[in-house]
């Protein structure tokens, strides 16, 4: 089974932004430029996440999705603040193949059933963002802002029972840190979740990927910081002066994320699997 390599592009308005622990909206460039680059490099899929949608309670990225569809022929998963059938339809019409929901699913689990009924399981990805509290994995909603009493495994199972096709599981503790995925979490996920799942958060080296594959079997790996910081787009002038653009103006390095390409990742995984 191939493991899809999926660049995750977080978006605020017209910019690709990247935070740490789902906090901070540092602008790194034009999302379409990054998407083009990743398409050229052989990405298997793209995730577009409107990260301020739940904050302002509106999703704004259909235009970007449309523009991307015109010349990037890859499957796309799109989400952020989606909480109704009409929104799902609008985003699918713009060229997305699948959508993901998080907060709205926690607030109204019936929405999962609704979306599945209207559009099919294969259209729905449920995104779960969780923190590790002394070995207990607790879900958050509202882009890491609000606590819930749901734990990762029980909630994941419930969403799958209701018909979700695939899961996107984000470790908030590791997001943006480049310190690898939470391996206690991936171990537990592998043990209890038998449907396809994408792991996201902290993956930044071949070693990180090797560690994940040693204890779990994800259907996909979502990757953010290490790809974005190695592909910094200095054409920000197109976007105007909005947002936290101080970093990109300075043109400095951050965390010295080691250079790693999508091609290298895929070769590494193929080697690892064939030697298994």
């Amino acid at each position: 089974m191939n493991i899809r390599i999926i660049p995750k592009i977080d978006i605020k308005k017209f910019n690709l932004v990247k935070g740490v622990h789902l906090e901070g909206l540092r602008v790194l460039g034009d999302p379409k430029n990054f998407a083009d680059q990743y398409y050229r490099e052989g990405a298997d899929e793209l995730i577009y996440h409107d990260v301020v949608a739940s904050l302002y309670q509106q999703n704004n990225i259909s235009d970007l999705v449309k523009r991307t569809s015109k010349n990037i022929f890859l499957p796309m998963v799109v989400g952020g603040g989606i909480d109704g059938i009409e929104q799902v339809e609008k985003i699918l019409k713009s060229g997305a193949d699948r959508i993901f929901i998080n907060s709205s699913a926690i607030d109204k689990p019936n929405l999962i059933d609704d979306i599945v009924k209207h559009f099919g399981s294969s259209t729905l990805v449920v995104s779960i963002e969780f923190v590790n509290i002394d070995g207990k994995f607790m879900c958050r909603k509202d882009f890491g802002r609000e606590e819930t009493d749901k734990n990762l495994i029980d909630w994941a199972k419930e969403t799958l029972d209701r018909g979700a096709g695939e899961l996107l599981l984000t470790s908030i503790d590791r997001d943006g840190t480049g310190s690898g995925y939470d391996l206690r979490a991936s171990e537990k996920i592998a043990k209890y979740i038998k449907s396809p799942y994408i792991l996201n958060g902290g993956i930044s080296s071949l070693k990180d990927i090797g560690d994940i594959l040693d204890n779990s079997h994800p259907s996909g790996l979502a990757i953010g910081s290490v790809l974005h910081y190695n592909n910094l787009d200095s054409l920000f002038s197109k976007m105007g002066e909005e947002g936290n653009i101080d970093f990109i103006k300075k043109k400095t390095n951050y965390k010295n994320f080691k250079k790693i390409t999508i091609k290298q990742i895929k070769e590494f995984i193929e080697n690892k699997i064939s030697h298994a």
Partner: protein, 210 residues
Amino acid sequence: MHDVSIIDYKMGNLYSVDCALKYVGVKSIITDDLTEIKNSKCIILPGVGAFPEAMKRLKEKKLDQAIKEFNESKKLIIGICLGMQILFSKSHENGTTNGLGLLKGEVKKFDVLDKEKQKQSFNVGWRTVEIKSNNGLNCCMPKKKDEQMYFIHSYHVVPEDYSIQTSTSKFFGNEFTSSVKKNNIEAFQFHPEKSRKEGLTIYKKLKEFL
């Protein structure tokens, strides 16, 4: 009038199919207008979702009739994913539903066991496609092992007559039909408009054909 009509029964990612066609220079339109459809040189039936719902919507808009009539004209019909499945006799998704019946065979759910003996039925991702014959658009499907196509489905077609099978793929080791061709009908289980430049070659071939 457009060369290609993409049948709009409100299911699936029609926009991407349209983008792919326009990208290769084909005059296409997303439509449910019966006249537009009748006068096209080719129709594409895309789709993602559930079989019974798809048939229901097609019937509501009288599109099922339109497609059958189009078939009589022997002009090219292309099915993609769910669109491929609807062309067949019937499906066992959520009960038993009749399809358009332009191709003989049934649509069944994947029911395979993985390494850990867990049931798996959702095929999502890139898979190698093994070409059985290349007498149609499928002639441009990739022959190299590392060029793959993108699949996303839980049900697959089982044709009555395997000679219409033009390629197969594997899901947890089990072989299934990934594309078919019979006369003027050609269909793909994978999504050519989501399969990078390899998938685009199918649309390019369509342009040549037109």
